[in-house]
């Protein structure tokens, strides 16, 4: 069981420019628009199994909780960053370790 201290750390947020740059170099992009939990979590885990270490997986989603749930679901398998558009579209960047 995790300690109560790790409750509050959300993934780092990306700037608009950096988010677009990184999207260009993504190795796998998953379209999760219109999806709900927990399918993006499951797809992220599957996606990470397909790519190599150091590769970048990007999920585009309109489901608010995913920005926290997906990074938590993949845990130590990837480093996570998120980008919030401000109008209910989010991208989750997962670089496989």
């Amino acid at each position: 069981m995790p300690s109560i201290d790790d409750v509050t750390n959300a993934p780092d947020e990306l700037s608009d420019d950096r988010a677009d740059e990184l999207l260009e170099e993504a190795d796998l992009v998953q379209d999760m628009m219109g999806e709900v939990c927990p399918y993006p979590q499951v797809e992220a885990k599957k996606g990470l199994q397909e790519i190599d270490s150091g590769d970048l997986l990007v999920q585009e989603t309109d489901h608010v909780p995913c920005t926290e749930n997906v990074p938590r679901a993949v845990g130590d398998d990837a480093d996570a960053q998120v980008w919030r558009s401000g109008d209910a579209v989010y991208r989750i960047y997962l670089r496989k370790r």
Partner: protein, 390 residues
Amino acid sequence: MVATLLVAAVVGIAIGAFLQKGRFCFVNAFRDFFAYKDSRVTKGVLAATLLTMVFWGIAYQFGYYQGFWTPDWGLTGLLGGFVFGVGMTYAGGCASGTLYRAGEGYLQFWLTLLFMGVGYAGFTVAFPTLESTYFEALTFGTGATLFELTSVPGGLVALAVAIGGLLVYATLTGRSSTAAAFGERADVAQLNPTALLAPVVGLRQFGRGTAAYVRGLVRAWRNPIASSKRPWDPRTAALGITAAAVLWFSQVSIVGVTGPEARWTGYLLSQVGVDAASFDYWGSVLFRGQGVGITVDMVMIAFVIVGAFVAALWSGDFSVRVPKRRRLPNAVVGGLMMGAGSRLAPGCNIGNIYSGIAELSIHSFIAAVGIVAGVYVMTHWIYRDVGCAI
């Protein structure tokens, strides 16, 4: 009457806003704990339930309450709860989660609500048969709450249970963290962790975690506008929901979602010409023979959607979201199972886990086990390709 409606509006908007800001989802709380041991929302749910228990206990002790909700107990809670738990995991949102996401603009969850309505209506039609077979056979005892069963003052009972819950929690977290620490440094393990040490370690962790949370809250207050747009810690939502629930308890009743929704279904059908009052379940059970109309708890849950809408709009999270076609079965089947399951138990995650445990109702303890078991089974099915942690 106007005052009660005002309370309904305030409580509904507050609950909706806190649910949205804290992403306070009971499916998330249990599913993600089973799937990858994420207990962030689980802690929020526990905090809300225990805090509400303490304040309701005190309110009950001093007579500031209107009544408990204590259905007769038996295996119905386990079975109905299980159906509900499977349904809410498949749908991707519990009774309260469906409401606040409807307010965030998810067409998916409006569809879920529609099919929950179909579930309520189907149950109502089958009710005479179910009453003489299912409910008769599986109900064992009269409904009761521990608050009324003991002569100990309600506030003390609630405090004792809440402290007991905290100690169990501290023991579990303390044991896992001492085990981890000593596992890594096996060579300096002369201070073997004992069962006695675990609660102390856990309580200290809890204290540190709470202090860190309060510091974060204080920091957030320095920049209130920006902070109000960010996602909130589920524990903040827990505090807000508790405050709203205490107000509701002192003025109206415990907080429920699917009961009022089933009444909405009867009311809306009566508006299009169905004689809802002639059905036993609507006429004499849900509306208690007082005629099919709009009750104050129906107003309250409608305002939950409004509160979530306003909070989502403010945070930049509102958008009309069109579901993927392959997600439609989740709304249809999940909604039906939630609608039917919540009537078969009776009660949903709010009535039985949040309110039901907070009011120490025997029925709700059983139904909560059923719901969590349903989430567990369904989570394992959805995660069948990638595996679950628990």
